[in-house]
């Protein structure tokens, strides 16, 4: 709807108006023609009457010889007059007369009779034999005298109305000696014709009106009412698609019932389609929701970024799938107080199936290695398991490494994955057998290598999403460019690689290379750097005076928000003080991890079992507060989650906090 509301004239009113107009016009035209017809009809009838009267008069006259002498006799004149009067009455002729004409073209009356008795007597009294009429001759009389025909007629108008006159010559011996004239008043005939005309017109109007009214009633019943109800149904259908309107019952079928059944069919179809669309839409929403859930589960399993800062190493991993759920993954986890494991992998294909496969591979590697298997055992065991049941014939390339932070020894396994860049004085690709991907053959072997990293040396492990990123000319980023980029970063920043800085450089390098070509964000890589020399510096000894500043500096190095850092430092201080004062531990190691959601601090100590998570803390009075126990309470209050495990005579405590970003959100 919208715009100006148009004036409404119903179809019924419009057709009635149209009918009336047609009737009016046809009557107008009909009357015009009828008038002409009526006049002509009157003329011909009056012509015939007057002509007939003169013929009769002529017959009564007999021979014209001795005409004048005969009429001199009054008796004869009287008999002729009677005859004439009789003719007048019979033929309805008004006047019948017999005249002679002299040389001066003047009439000489002989006999004149009228139809009605009063006029007839009046004429007998006023007109005498051979009386001269002073009036001019009528043109018809003149034409008769000229001898051109044996009868002339003429119409003229008098006070009493239209008259028709007929004149015949009376000849004797080839000479016109007199003429007989008859006058007939046409008005009666005209009146009669008019009456007939009006009767016919009235009849026409009546018939027309009956036809009009009955056709309007018929049209109203068969067209207007069904059309209106159809339009009402259409309106109600657009407002509520589920409104069922029963079909109208009719005896006959016509265009309107055709339209109605078409509409009925259309609404049924539309209802069906709309239902289908609704189902499809809800299916689509469901699929999208499931994808969204998959993505959230995946991002929960693989943080978009994961930074680890511990005693002896620094690791940074990122994963950004180009699509909702990607097939690339990485994993960083600690085996014990000294060893840390990094995994980078790439699943063939994308989407939910790839994501599920990825979860299986990632979990499989983690559980096998945590369960104490070597890299090679882990690979072959998992490979067999996958090959045993792999209906989608998916496969995964993996790179798995374990760094011993005490010695700098790095065990590296490559299962068909891109070879990593060794970050040393120069950046160079590590040389080893690339091995075979997981899930291809059940007897596949992976490449293995053991290297010893010096302080500041590390590895960059990436997926082909990095090297195969293309620019707008479909040219690939390539391994050489990546090597060059890592080398440049090294020479720019001296011997100390910074994980986060290198990854930032790789990201901006890719962005510069790809420009607007495509979303390059399908980038997954991890940087591991061995910090052997820092191990001593970052080691927590049983001396609080030297260890507390180490904790403080490390956390300040990870958390930029000062107040937030202080709260985390408070928790760490309370936990660490507790370990030092009560556990009898000889060695404590700790490391920090940061993802986009969580900041976590882990403490590993070899002291007596002590679980700060479940230990029962009695509420103390104010006076008792200076005796201790308050620290664990403060620590619990200020952590999001505290997880304690006792593994291999080691207390493993993980303190989890919300990351800055998540906290802000």
């Amino acid at each position: 709807m919208g715009g100006k509301k148009k004036p409404r004239i119903s179809l019924l009113a419009r057709s009635a108006l149209f009918f009336l107009l047609t009737l009016f016009l046809s009557l107008l035209v009909g009357l015009l023609f009828a008038r002409k017809y009526v006049f002509e009809d009157a003329i011909s009838r009056s012509y015939a009457i007057s002509a007939g009267a003169t013929t009769a008069a002529m017959t009564s006259l007999g021979s014209a010889d001795g005409f004048y002498e005969l009429f001199s006799d009054e008796e004869y004149r009287e008999s002729i007059h009677k005859t004439f009067h009789f003719i007048c009455e019979k033929t309805e002729t008004d006047v019948l007369y017999l005249n002679t004409v002299d040389e001066n073209q003047k009439r000489h009356y002989i006999v004149a009779a009228a139809k009605d008795d009063y006029t007839d007597e009046l004429m007998q009294d006023t007109i005498s034999f051979d009386m001269i009429d002073e009036e001019e001759l009528y043109p018809a009389e003149v034409r008769v005298l000229e001898g051109k025909s044996d009868g002339e007629h003429e119409f003229y108008h008098t006070d009493s109305g239209y008259m028709c006159m007929f004149v015949r010559p009376v000849s004797s011996q080839g000479k016109i000696i007199a003429f007989v004239g008859a006058s007939y008043d046409m008005d009666d005939i005209l009146e009669e014709s008019k009456r007939n005309l009006y009767f016919i017109a009235g009849l026409v109007i009546l018939v027309f009106s009956i036809a009009l009214i009955s056709s309007l009633i018929l049209m109203r019943k068969s067209i207007f009412v069904p059309v209106r109800s159809l339009s009402d149904r259409m309106r109600s259908f657009t407002q509520d698609i589920d409104s069922h309107v029963p079909k109208r019952k009719t005896i006959f079928s016509d265009e309107i019932t055709d339209m109605e059944s078409s509409f009925y069919e259309m609404t049924e179809n539309m209802r069906e389609y709309v239902g289908e669309i609704k189902t499809l839409t809800s299916d689509k929403v469901q699929v999208e929701t499931q994808l969204d859930v998959a993505r959230r589960i995946q991002s929960g399993l693989i943080p978009m970024e994961h930074f680890v800062l511990g005693d002896g190493c620094e690791i940074y991993g990122i994963e950004k799938p180009a699509r909702a759920v990607g097939g690339d993954f990485y994993d960083i986890f600690r085996l014990d107080s000294d060893r840390i494991c990094v995994v980078v992998g790439d699943i063939s294909g994308k989407g939910v199936s790839a994501a599920l496969f990825m979860v299986m591979v990632k979990t499989g590697i983690r559980e096998n290695i945590k369960g104490g298997r070597s890299l090679a055992e882990t690979f072959s065991s998992l490979n067999r398991e996958i090959c045993f049941s792999n209906p989608e014939t998916m496969f995964a390339t993996v790179a798995v490494m374990i760094l011993d932070t005490k010695t700098g020894v790095l065990k590296y396994l490559n299962g068909g994955h891109e070879l990593p860049l060794l970050l040393s004085k120069n950046a160079d690709y590590l040389e080893l057998d690339a091995g075979c991907a997981l899930g291809l053959f059940d007897d596949a072997k992976a490449g293995e290598k053991e290297i010893r990293l010096s302080d500041g040396e590390g590895l960059l492990i990436f997926t082909d999403g990095v090297t195969e990123a293309v620019d707008d000319e479909r040219k690939q980023f390539g391994k050489d460019r990546l090597k060059e980029l890592a080398g440049n970063y090294h020479s720019k920043h001296g011997e100390r690689y910074d994980c986060e800085g290198l990854i930032k450089d790789i990201k901006s390098g890719l962005r510069d290379f790809c420009k607007e070509a495509e979303q390059f964000d399908d980038i997954t890589c991890a940087v591991l750097i061995y910090r052997g020399n820092e191990k001593e510096r970052r080691r927590l000894t049983m001396d609080l005076a030297s260890s507390l500043p180490v904790i403080r500096d490390t956390i300040f190095g990870c958390i930029s928000d000062e107040e937030r850092a202080k709260t985390i430092i408070l928790v760490c201080e309370e936990i660490f003080t507790n370990i030092v004062n009560y556990s009898g531990a000889k060695e404590v190691s700790f490391y920090c991890e940061r993802t986009e959601e969580i900041f976590a601090v882990s403490f590993f100590d070899d002291g007596m079992p002590f679980d700060p998570v479940t230990v029962n803390l009695r509420d103390k009075t104010f006076e008792e507060l200076d005796t201790g126990g308050m620290g664990i309470k403060l620590a619990r209050m200020n952590t999001k989650e505290m997880v304690y495990n006792r593994i291999d005579n080691t207390n493993q405590l993980v303190l989890r906090f919300l990351s800055n970003d998540s906290n802000r959100n």
Partner: protein, 96 residues
Amino acid sequence: MTIEKTIDGTEATLAIEGWLDTNAAPELLKALDELESDTESLVLDLSKLEYISSSGVRGIVSAYKKMNGALKVRGAAPGIMSIFKATGIDKKLSFE
């Protein structure tokens, strides 16, 4: 951490600056021991205190006990106050 002591008659003020953690707490206890014997009331000026842990809180409880309640706390930052509240000592302390 540094502790600055000022004396006004029988009222002593200890202005504590920096980090009052496990390592620094003994210094506070030492400063309390060194208070003049005629000190009747103590003010702890915490306006420059950046950090306090449970050891520091215990030190303040010790000060309260030593002064038999004649202790006032001045200028504690919101972060410090929240730890006072978390440990419940804010109910006993009087703040200026």
